[in-house]
Symmetry: C2
Subunit: 204 residues, 2 copies
DNA sequence: GCAAAATGGTAACTACGGTTAACATATTCG
DNA sequence: CGAATATGTTAACCGTAGTTACCATTTTGC
């Protein structure tokens, strides 16, 4: 479910157990992306949820914990989506790669805040968490790289890594630029250009 | 001149007028990219220059001013490079576009800190400066968009904007990932994939 | 060579914001 | 119902880091 639909649905559910926590998370994502992690106060987050101030501490042990939970949520969604896109592709790397692009171009456009927070605010985390998460992100992209090399064995390892990194970067830069609110058009164009990168002629 | 070569050359020049200031700027860029603007203290910047603490205030009125000067320097270089790449192309948009990609793929790889700071830490600036700089960045990318539409009139405005934004995003994401220290290889691959994006088949 | 400007060091100030304390209300469930 | 738990509120705390004050030294230009 896209992040804004989820947020709306959660708010309508009143104050059930654990719901507040999820609302805080999604609103914090919005704020972090809009104003940056450093310039977003705990008070701001509370206000966005309709709960001024330190009430947030009832749900999270601190500001950093919110950011950490957010990025972990983001990673989790990415992992789920990647796996889901890979099943039922009859182990054909060509089909699998296209399925991945299909899914990711849609996911990133429909979940801009989650996607952007992960790559923009990793530095806000303490060394240790940052390392751990970076490793996990790398593992995720390695799946893409492996698939790409299967499809195009002529690519060097570096070339494949650059292509995959570029594909991720295209999504975040386009989202950050807020070029259009037409999510359908955005994801369609993104998809086309991601495929172009993955199929770009190799350089000697 | 690439940023690290410039830094080295400056340091060897001792303490001439205005030199210190430039050194502070470039070291600050390194730190901002490495640890983030928020987590880089004035003391850190001073230490990196061999001048502990508030001595930095002899050259800049404050921390934000350093960031501002950095992003403005970055923009200036981008403008210069864009212009330089466009002259002597006989007003052929096809050639001009390729010249732009040639130049930008090299520039971004040779000046990673300048390139990354501009897009990563814009949020650290006060509203007003941020707006102004964003506008200037947009103007810069509009030059690319105009050129691209000239070459490929079948592209919608949105499609062209997405392509150009993607090209910029590819550079920053690849630089941030630090995939290789072989700048030559990086820029060559980047170039190829940027061209692929700009020539990607349009979507209906 | 000397006055003036430039540059630097150390110590102290201060504001901001994350966090905690202390106290209140509402919800849940036996 | 009533105890326990969850959730909120306001006021106060306090560490950090950007900034300023003040004094020392070096560099520059007449």
């Amino acid at each position: 479910m896209a992040e804004y639909d989820e947020l709306e649905s959660l708010i309508s559910q009143g104050r059930k157990h654990g719901v507040r926590k999820r609302i805080i998370l999604l609103q914090a994502a919005r704020l972090f992306v809009e104003k940056g992690y450093a310039d977003t106060g705990i008070d701001d987050i509370g206000a966005a949820v309709g709960v001024s101030g330190p009430a947030v501490y009832r749900h999270f042990p601190g500001k950093q914990a919110i950011l950490l939970a957010l990025i972990e949520l983001s990673l989790e969604r990415l992992r789920e989506g990647t796996q889901a896109a890979l099943v039922d592709q009859d182990r054909e790397p060509q089909k699998a790669l296209i399925a991945l692009v299909d899914w990711f171009s849609r996911f990133s456009v429909e979940n801009p805040d989650l996607t952007l927070v992960m790559q923009a605010e990793l530095l806000g985390l303490p060394e240790q968490d940052r390392r751990r998460l970076k490793r996990q992100i790398r593992q995720l992209s390695e799946a893409w790289v492996g698939l790409l090399i299967e499809v195009r064995p002529e690519l060097s390892d570096l070339a494949a890594r650059i292509a995959v990194t570029s594909v991720m970067g295209m999504a975040t830069s386009v989202l950050a630029a807020r070029l259009s609110s037409d999510t359908r058009a955005l994801s369609v164009h993104l998809r086309a250009q991601m495929l172009a990168v993955l199929h770009a002629p190799a350089e000697p």
